[in-house]
Structures are given as C-alpha cells and as structure tokens.
C-alpha cells in the first residue's frame, strides 16, 4: 500500500500523479474463507479491517453485490455523534466517536471527520428539560454534552430564527461539541484500502443468492460468482437485512423503509455545526463543498425503491426553513435516498442468529453511519470469538421476544410511529 501524504501529492505534481496504485485489489473469490462478510458498506469493510487488524485473521472476504460504499454508507447525511439518552446506545456510539477522532490517521485516509458540534435545539421549557435529561445521562456516563443558552446558540448559528414569535422559538440547545460530520465515501474507501492491505479480499459485483447449509449450520454462501465456503458468515447489509436473512429462512424484527436526504447548491459557509431539533425532524449541516445537507424523517412505509417522495421532502424543508429562514432562496440540487433497516425498537441488532455460524449486523434505522467504527469493532469481535463484545451484548436479536428492547423514543414496536 502506498502511503498517503502531502509529500506524495507534491511528488505527484512532478509526475502527473501517475505513481498512485489502486486503493484496493480486484481479486477473484477463493473457494474458502474463514469468515465471509456479506455487504461491502462501511460496516462490513470496517468489520473486515478489524478482523484482520485486531484479531489477526487473514482469510477473510467481503462480498459486495454492487460497488463498495454504494448503499447507505454513500447515502446518508454524514452526521457523527453519540448523544443518545439510553445507556446501551450512548455507550456504543461513544465508543465509535472516540474511534472517529483518530480514524484518518488509523487508516492513512482522510475521512474528514469534522467535530464541529452536533446541536439539538430546544423550543420550549419542556424541550430544554428533555435535553438536559439526555445531556445529564450522557455526562454521568462520561460523554460530553453541554446545555446552551439562547445567546450561545445564536452565536454559534447566527442565521437561526431567534425571534420569540417563531412557530418553534429557540430556547436553547444541547450540544455535543465532539460530534460533527465526516466524508461518507472516504470511510468506505479508507476501510477498504486498509483491509485490502491486510489481505482481505474485497469482491465487488458478487451477490449472495443463498446459504450453503450443513444441518443447522451455515457453511458457505451461493453467489453470482459461484459457491464460496466459509467458517462463519456475517450479514452486514442494513437496508436489505430482511432479504438476506430471508435466504437463510430467518424473519427479522426489521422493516425496510426509505430515508431520503438532499443537498443544495454550494454556497459560502453559513451553517457552522450540525443543527437538529428536539421537536422537529430535520437535520441541517453544510458540506465542505458548500452544499447544505438536509435530512428528515424516513418515509414511514416499507420500501426498497431507493427513491424519495416529495411529500416527505417538502415537510423536512419546511421544518428546516422554519429554523433557518435564510435557506429559502438556496436551491435543492439533488435528492437521494437509502433503504434503511427500521428495527422494532429503533436500536441496531448485532450478534448471533438462531442459525449456527450465521451472524447479523443490521437494524440500524437511520443512524448507522456514525456507528461505523464501533459496529465494525464489535462485530469483528463477535465474528472472531463467536460471542458478543460487552458493547453489543444488549443488542442481541432475541431481545424483542424476551422484552428487553432498547427503545430510545419509547414509541414501541411499530417503526412507522418512531
């Protein structure tokens, strides 16, 4: 692997940048791997990377149906934060956030993690109390969170509508200063390059079409490029978990829904942090290219269409403009959408399945991107040892039928009411 550096770029300036090698190989699949990871998104690639790096396993393949990073890794609003109310969630995401802070150096690939602050706005005293409760829960567990006064909010984001007569007046906020954004594609590419250099085979255009069974155990996968045997198989295809698990005869507590996002034409810096709201459902940040990145609620009905719809988009934009009126004359230049695994308590699923040697990482709802390093780390541990890491133990698949759900919003088993 050629090391990336400013020096390398300068050298390239003299040779027409001709000395760079492919960031990852394009290998033919072998007949057997110790561990196969289905899904070449950020989570799958991170899992492979940590399997090789931390657990010293070498004979690993990542099978990707299309092109790596082409699912939700490349379709989210790039927000990174760990500000959850419930302990199992904030512990998992905080573990990840700490990894984000050094990820560029770890991977020698600039993932542009920008801890510019992730801020939830409060619009009433009741909101502020809820935000304080969340912040207090985090602080007591050693995670940074600060309440902000109206003045502090205004100073950070001068374009917010701070008028008292606003429909959702801003009373203050809760900020996680270590939260922010990252470059989504770079995460997939960086992990891919790192995993590849440690010997992991990343096999694109290789769709898993079935599982090879020996009794109650999975011993391999059928793919569009033939049968591949495996010691253990990890599903890591959030959005399509239901489909892939279905190939093994499993029904999951997951419903696939579309989550759309959009970006405006680029403008000079105007939004400094990540703006979210306790009462409204929109997320606003500004990319390094200058586009205002916007996200809202999922569609609230099942879909694999990977296509947005104007009703949900217009609602998110209305909410965003109510907060930041100066966005009105910007133009939305592109919309896109991803298929998300909406789990039935809003929390991910990482762990064993009822099928021997088959593991599941999914159910990320609309919050998977920020968990990429933590998801990879804990899933690698689970796949390597056959047992969950302490951080993902609460996220077991059997928690639903047992009654041990992790329901951050308290809205129950219907993903569409979340």
């Amino acid at each position: 692997m050629s090391q990336y550096s400013a020096f390398g770029l300068l050298r390239g300036a003299l040779n027409g940048q001709k000395h760079w090698q492919p960031a990852w190989r394009d290998p033919e699949p072998k007949s057997h791997y110790d561990i196969i990871i289905i899904g070449g998104g950020g989570h799958g690639l991170a899992t492979a990377y940590y399997l090789a790096k931390v657990h010293g396993l070498k004979n690993i393949a990542v099978l990707e149906k299309g092109w790596i990073g082409g699912g939700n890794t490349g379709r989210n609003t790039t927000i990174v934060r760990s500000n959850y109310r419930l302990k199992p969630l904030h512990d998992l995401f905080e573990f990840g956030l700490k990894m984000w802070e050094h990820l560029s150096d770890e991977l020698n690939y600039n993932v542009m993690f920008s801890p510019r602050g992730a801020m939830f706005l409060g619009h009433s005293d009741a909101d502020m109390t809820k935000l304080a409760e969340r912040g207090d829960a985090m602080r007591c567990d050693g995670i940074d969170a600060d309440l902000m006064t109206r003045d502090e909010v205004q100073k950070l984001e001068p374009l917010l509508d701070m008028s008292r007569s606003a429909r959702f007046p801003i009373e203050g906020g809760l900020i996680q200063r270590r939260g922010g954004t990252a470059r989504h594609d770079a995460v997939a590419w960086g992990y891919a390059r790192g995993a590849d250099s440690l010997g992991v085979d990343i096999i694109q255009k290789c769709e898993v079409t079935g599982f090879v069974r020996d009794g109650d155990a999975v011993v391999g996968v059928e793919t569009t490029r033939g049968r591949i045997n495996a010691g253990r198989v990890g599903i890591c295809v959030a959005g399509h978990s239901g489909h892939v698990a279905g190939l093994a005869g499993l029904k999951l507590p997951v419903e696939s829904q579309t989550l759309q996002a959009m970006v405006t034409e680029g403008v000079k810096p105007m939004i400094n942090s990540v703006i979210m709201s306790q009462s409204l459902h929109c997320y606003i940040s500004q990319s390094d290219k200058g586009g205002i990145v916007f996200g809202g609620d999922p569609d609230n009905w099942p879909s694999y269409a990977q296509r947005g719809n104007p009703m949900v988009m217009e609602r998110a934009v209305a909410q965003g403009l109510a907060l930041v009126p100066a966005l009105s004359r910007l133009r939305m230049v592109r919309t896109w959408s991803g298929v998300t695994d909406m789990s039935f308590d809003g929390a991910p699923i990482i762990g064993e399945t009822p099928v021997k040697n088959l593991f599941l990482n999914g159910g990320w709802c609309y919050g998977g991107f920020k968990a990429t390093p933590a998801s990879g780390w804990t899933y690698a541990h689970t796949l390597a040892t056959g047992k969950p890491h302490a951080l993902n133990a609460p996220f077991a698949l059997d928690r639903f039928e047992r009654g041990a759900t992790i329901d951050e919003t308290g809205s129950g088993p219907m993903p569409n009411s979340r």
Binding site: G242, L252, N300, P302, A305, N309, F344, N416
Partner: protein, 87 residues
C-alpha cells in the same frame, strides 16, 4: 407520492393515507402469547410484493389492504376491510 385506489373513494393521493403495518404483523386478539409476539416482532419484509394495511385517514377513514411491490411501487390489488357497509 403514490396514488392508491380507495375501495370507497376511488383514486386518491397517498398524502391522505397512513401506513399501519403488513398483514403478516396483525396480532389477533385471541393469539397465544408466544405466537402474538412472533407476529408482532417479525416481518416477511420481502423485496417484492407484500400485503400492507393502510388507512384512508384523511379521507373516508376506512382501512384497506394493499398489495404493493416495494421495489416498483406497482399496486396489484386493493381490498376493503372493516365492518360491512352499505354500497
């Protein structure tokens, strides 16, 4: 934004409807507890056609079952559910 054909009102914009759940997730009142939880907490979630329960909430308020392809959004059937009504 899809268009559904309400069995009572005819073609109407999706904005008038709210999705409830799939038919395979209906927990009948007399189900055994274990079956009830299995039903509540698992879904077929096919990448294809499934039967979904929608309500014409902002229209006639009636419930219906819509067979819809989740990839193409093609609707292959719609049927009314609920108490018997006059034509």
């Amino acid at each position: 934004m899809m268009q559904f054909t309400c069995p009572h009102c005819g073609p109407r914009d999706q904005a008038e409807f709210i999705y409830e759940r799939t038919v395979d997730a209906v927990v009948s009142l007399d189900a055994a507890p274990e079956d009830a939880m299995k039903t509540l907490f698992t879904r077929n979630n096919p990448r294809g056609v499934d039967e979904e329960i929608w309500r014409h909430t902002y229209g006639c308020r009636a419930w219906m079952v819509i067979a819809r392809n989740r990839v193409t959004n093609e609707i292959s059937a719609t049927r009314a559910v609920g108490p018997e009504a006059l034509p």
